[in-house]
């Protein structure tokens, strides 16, 4: 079970986050200041740290991050910030943050991202060596960019291939539209993510084509999940 450290000075927000995490079956601990957060992160292993950019008492989020990375704590960090400026986001990610969410955020969006960070392999090197991928009856040849379902080849457009690749890499996880958009298209913005639905419908139609059960599940209110059958 994933263990999450919430570093947030606002207790109400911290409690909401904790409730949302426990709904998804994740444990959480709470630190109110940067100093407390550093101590806690050093003394115990956490799977993900949710770090508020603005913290009272001297250390801000970026400084906490620097301090943690300085003492070789490699726990994935998700920044929370009331600042929506792209430059701020870029700064947070450049400083070594792994993801960034602007307040106010959707709690399902947050838990989906935390879940993705918690499941992320700690040694990413293996992914470059991967040449094929199999999830359930789906099989993907990464070198020749071909896909089969139950042995029958499915012809996909490049973007559809990238989309399925992302879904397969995170099989079983809830992926929000914003996450899919960021990862597959490589841009960051929140509006019009409903266009993802159209892409997903097309991909689904190709994959399911008269077969049951459907391989991509819609998670109401948050996003999609590739069923790891």
């Amino acid at each position: 079970m994933a263990d999450i450290l919430i570093v947030e000075d606002d207790r109400a927000t911290a409690r909401e986050i904790a409730v949302a995490l426990s709904d998804q079956g994740m444990h959480s601990a709470h630190a109110e200041t940067g100093v407390a957060a550093i101590e806690m992160a050093r003394s115990k292993h956490y799977d993900v740290i949710i770090l508020d950019r603005m913290l009272p008492g001297g250390l801000n989020g970026l400084e906490v991050l620097a301090a943690l990375r300085g003492t070789s704590v490699t726990t994935p960090i998700l920044f929370l910030s009331a600042l929506s400026a792209v430059s701020d986001r870029v700064r947070g990610l450049r400083a070594g943050g792994d993801d960034y969410l602007t307040k106010p955020f959707d709690y399902l969006e947050l838990t989906a991202r935390v879940d993705a960070l918690a499941r992320r392999p700690t040694v990413p090197a293996s992914s470059s060596l991967e040449v094929e991928r199999t999830v359930g009856d789906l099989h993907m040849d990464l070198l020749n960019r071909r896909v089969w379902r139950s042995g029958q080849e499915i012809l996909l457009l490049p973007r559809e291939f990238a989309l399925l690749d992302y879904l397969m890499r995170h099989a079983g996880q809830v992926l929000t539209r914003a996450m899919i958009f960021e990862q597959v298209w490589g841009y960051h913005y929140d509006a019009h993510t409903n266009v993802i639905d159209v892409h997903m419908t097309k991909l689904r139609r190709k994959l399911d084509h008269g077969r049951t059960p459907p391989v991509i599940e819609t998670v109401r209110g948050s996003g999609y999940r590739l069923l790891a059958l």
Binding site: S84, V86, W185, Y187, Y189
Partner: protein, 479 residues
């Protein structure tokens, strides 16, 4: 009236100051005139008197007595009384019989007032001590000179009094007039402060300094009122745009609250409610992004990006949505000798172009077409077969929450084009809306460097100006 305030009124003080200054100058002038005139009028006779008195030095005592007696006989009216006295003050000769009580210093002129027949007569005399110790007094009646001097003094005093009176009265009048005028201005300002923004400061129509100030302040108020109107419009729209989804939300929640709903049905209603709230949050996020953009602080995240690649990504993203509606979305990345690299924030550019494409897909009727092109500049042109935006509405696309008459019945929050406009301005680009045969053409065009740098990145007023300029330019372009 406001006499209490008058004392501190600057115009009143100024009037008094000038009255005092003028009074002092007049006083100096009159004083000088007085001294010069009297010394001139008495100067010659004084010399003669002195010569006469000294002439007795050369005469024998007897001769002197005779001369003085004779003089007394020749002057029965006593206009020029002479007297000769012994060193002890005893009278010897002449029609001046008595020495003054206190003996004046010798060889000096002095004036004495003598009461004769109920009238004061003023004499000017010269006292001379002869070598034998006797005293000669030579006098003359200076009544006329005294009267002249008195007149002059009287005139001076009356003049000064009049001047003071006029000064105070004039100062009061001017002071009160300016106080009244200031009162008018103050009243107007107070009522504006209380919220009546349509009120203006009273101008007299003359071109004096206060009027000029009043005009400047009034034009400032015009601008403030216009801006406030815009802000109010935005607030009204926010309120309206919030009330609509909130009402829907309430309806959804009330439906979900009913007991006879199955768990599945309730789940559906809750999801609908969540979507409504998400839509509201998106509206707010868009509003915040526009203001953030107008602050111009986002340039920090600018990088060199390939515009052709970006447009391709946007088209690729929206292509299925267009396809679902049976719309042909065409992109020809033909950019042979044009610069493709621009300094931009890729996420924002994607958002801007995405909004344009989203609009185009939304408003183009089924089985229509949308063409995306790259052109000189570089600029991106989106041409669709939709209804377009009426020329008279083009100036308003940059206004938040403005929804064109042709967009009724389509979903949207009226923040799409204002956001595109804000992003365009941040990138030194311009949003142009043009007519096109059988459709509408929207362009994001890079402005020449000099022009783009001269456009301030913020300010609601400027935004409108820019927008209306765009509309005007667009109208001038033959399509």
């Amino acid at each position: 009236m406001r006499f209490r305030d008058l004392r501190s009124a600057s115009s009143f003080r100024l009037a008094l100051f000038f009255a005092a200054l003028f009074g002092s100058a007049s006083l100096l002038f009159v004083g000088t005139t007085y001294t010069l005139t009297t010394s001139f009028l008495s100067g010659n006779p004084d010399e003669r008197m002195r010569a006469q008195a000294i002439s007795f030095d050369a005469r024998s005592p007897h001769n002197a007595e005779e001369m003085i007696d004779q003089h007394g006989l020749l002057d029965p009216a006593g206009r020029r009384p002479f007297g000769l006295f012994a060193p002890d003050g005893r009278w010897i000769a002449g029609n001046l019989k008595k020495l003054p009580n206190s003996l004046p210093r010798p060889e000096r002129f002095f004036e004495t007032k003598v009461k004769a027949g109920g009238e004061d007569t003023i004499y000017r005399s010269f006292l001379h001590r002869l070598p034998n110790g006797r005293i000669v007094i030579v006098s003359r009646n200076i009544e006329e000179l005294a009267q002249f001097r008195q007149r002059l003094l009287d005139v001076t005093v009356i003049g000064l009094l009049l001047m003071a009176l006029l000064g105070i009265a004039g100062g009061t009048i001017i002071g009160l007039a300016s106080l009244r005028r200031l009162d008018g201005v103050t009243l107007a300002i107070e009522s504006i402060t209380r919220g009546d923004l349509s009120r203006r400061l009273p101008a007299r129509g003359s071109n004096d300094d206060i009027d000029r100030l009043v005009r400047v302040v009034n034009s400032m108020l015009d601008q403030i009122q216009r801006l406030m109107g815009e802000v109010k419009g935005v607030c009204d729209s926010v309120a309206h745009d919030l009330r609509t989804p909130l009402t829907r939300l309430l309806a959804i929640l009330e439906r979900a609250h009913r007991h006879n709903l199955s768990a599945d049905e309730r789940e559906i209603e809750l999801c609908n409610a969540i979507q409504e709230v998400q839509q509201m949050l998106r509206t707010f996020a868009a509003l915040l992004r526009i203001s953030e953009m107008e602050d111009g602080i986002r340039r920090a995240s600018f990088r060199e990006i390939d515009l052709a690649q970006l447009v391709e990504d946007v088209v690729d993203y929206y292509e299925p949505a267009a396809e679902t509606k049976g719309i042909d979305l065409l992109f020809n990345p033909d950019l042979t000798d044009m610069p493709k690299l621009i300094s931009a924030d890729a996420d924002l550019m994607f958002e801007a172009l995405g909004n344009l494409l989203d609009n185009a897909i939304k408003f183009t009727p089924e089985s229509g077409s949308i063409r995306v092109e790259l052109a000189e500049g570089p600029s991106v042109i989106v041409t669709d077969t939709g209804p377009g935006i009426a020329p008279e509405e083009r100036g308003q696309v940059a206004i938040r929450f403005h929804r064109g008459t042709r967009s009724r019945g389509t979903p949207g929050n009226g923040l799409g084009l204002p956001l595109v406009n804000a992003i365009a301005r941040l990138h030194g680009m311009e949003l142009r809306i043009e007519d096109h045969v059988g459709g509408c053409r929207v362009a994001l065009a890079t402005l020449p460097l000099s022009l783009s740098s001269s456009i301030p990145a913020q300010g609601g007023l400027n935004r409108i100006n820019l927008a209306s300029r765009t509309a005007a330019e667009t109208l001038a372009i033959p399509s």
